[in-house]
Amino acid sequence: MLWVAAIVLLVVIVPVVVYLLNGVLQAANGIVGSVEGIAVVAAAGSKDLDAAALLLTTSEQVEQTVAGLANYGGSLDVILDDAEPAR
């Protein structure tokens, strides 16, 4: 009986243990590649957002443009006659 147990331990249990541990290791190694890829993408995304600070300049320019537009519109309002009322 002990011989059977010893053979089962050597032939079945050891390969199963090795197979399961190998699966865990492969999964962990797979995660490593994915995490490194995500890190590269996150760094690139962060770098792409460097231009976001220019939005403040854009906002100021838009504000000035609309202010100039309002002045221009006020002048046009004085220069041009209003449309005739619909008949």
Binding site: L2, W3, A6, I7, L9, L10, I13, V14, V17, V18, L21, N22, V24, L25, A28, N29, I31, V32, V35, E36, I38, A39, V41, A42, A43, G45, S46, L49, D50, A52, A53, L55, L56, T58, S59, V62, E63, T65, V66, L69, A70, G73, L76, D77, L80, D81, D82, A83, E84, A86
Partner: protein
């Protein structure tokens, strides 16, 4: 030690070796994952930090642009009238008349004249500002007034001809001095005492 005990011992040793090898490898892989996640967290934190003010800035820009659009639309409707204003906008942005103006909820119900099919865009704007062009004078159901192939020439007819042709050849400036083609000799009588005419016999 019996043979059975030796087999058990070998099996246990193999299991322990496998555990050591794979667990150590897994630990190293997890450390790499931890380092990678640290980089990810740093990158994502930068993204969050940099994108935080974007929403407010974009909303401010949109508010400014909305104000500008309402201003322009209101001015256009006030000066050109709702129907012609829709026709003008639809001529520049085809299909915009169907959407109408933001500040005028009833604007989509108006019939937009086909101004864009009658005049070129530049003529369209200038003629509307001049308020003299017969824009959309004909029925929208009528034939197109503008010749599509010769649209530019048709548009020119709205303006005085002198603006589009070579000015008439003007006389050149006269050449004076020793090189002049016509030399005028000084008359001797200029500056001399006037001759006295003989007295008429009485």
């Amino acid at each position: 030690m019996s043979a059975v005990g030796a087999v058990f011992l070998v099996a246990a040793a193999l299991i322990v070796l496998a555990l050591v090898y794979f667990l150590v490898s897994t630990i190293l892989a997890l450390r790499k994952i931890t380092a990678g996640l640290d980089e990810v967290i740093a990158g994502v934190s930068e993204i969050v930090e940099k994108s935080a003010p974007v929403n407010g800035v974009v909303n401010a820009i949109n508010a400014q642009l909305d104000a500008g659009v309402e201003l322009l639309e209101g001015l256009l409707v006030q000066k050109a009238g709702m129907s012609d204003a829709l026709g003008l906008v639809d001529g520049i942005y085809p299909g915009a008349a169907a959407a109408g103006f933001r500040a005028f909820s009833d604007s989509p119900t108006h019939q937009a004249p086909r101004i864009g099919e009658v005049y070129t865009r530049g003529t369209l704007s200038l003629a509307r500002l001049g308020r003299e062009a017969p824009i959309a004078a004909l029925s929208p159901a009528g034939a197109v007034l503008r010749n599509v192939e010769g649209g530019s020439l048709a548009a020119r007819s709205l303006y005085p001809d002198v603006r589009h042709t070579t000015p008439e050849k003007l006389p050149t400036s006269p050449v004076i001095g020793a090189g002049a083609p016509v030399q005028y000799e000084q008359r001797e009588d200029i500056g001399a005492p006037r001759k006295r005419l003989p007295a008429k016999p009485s």
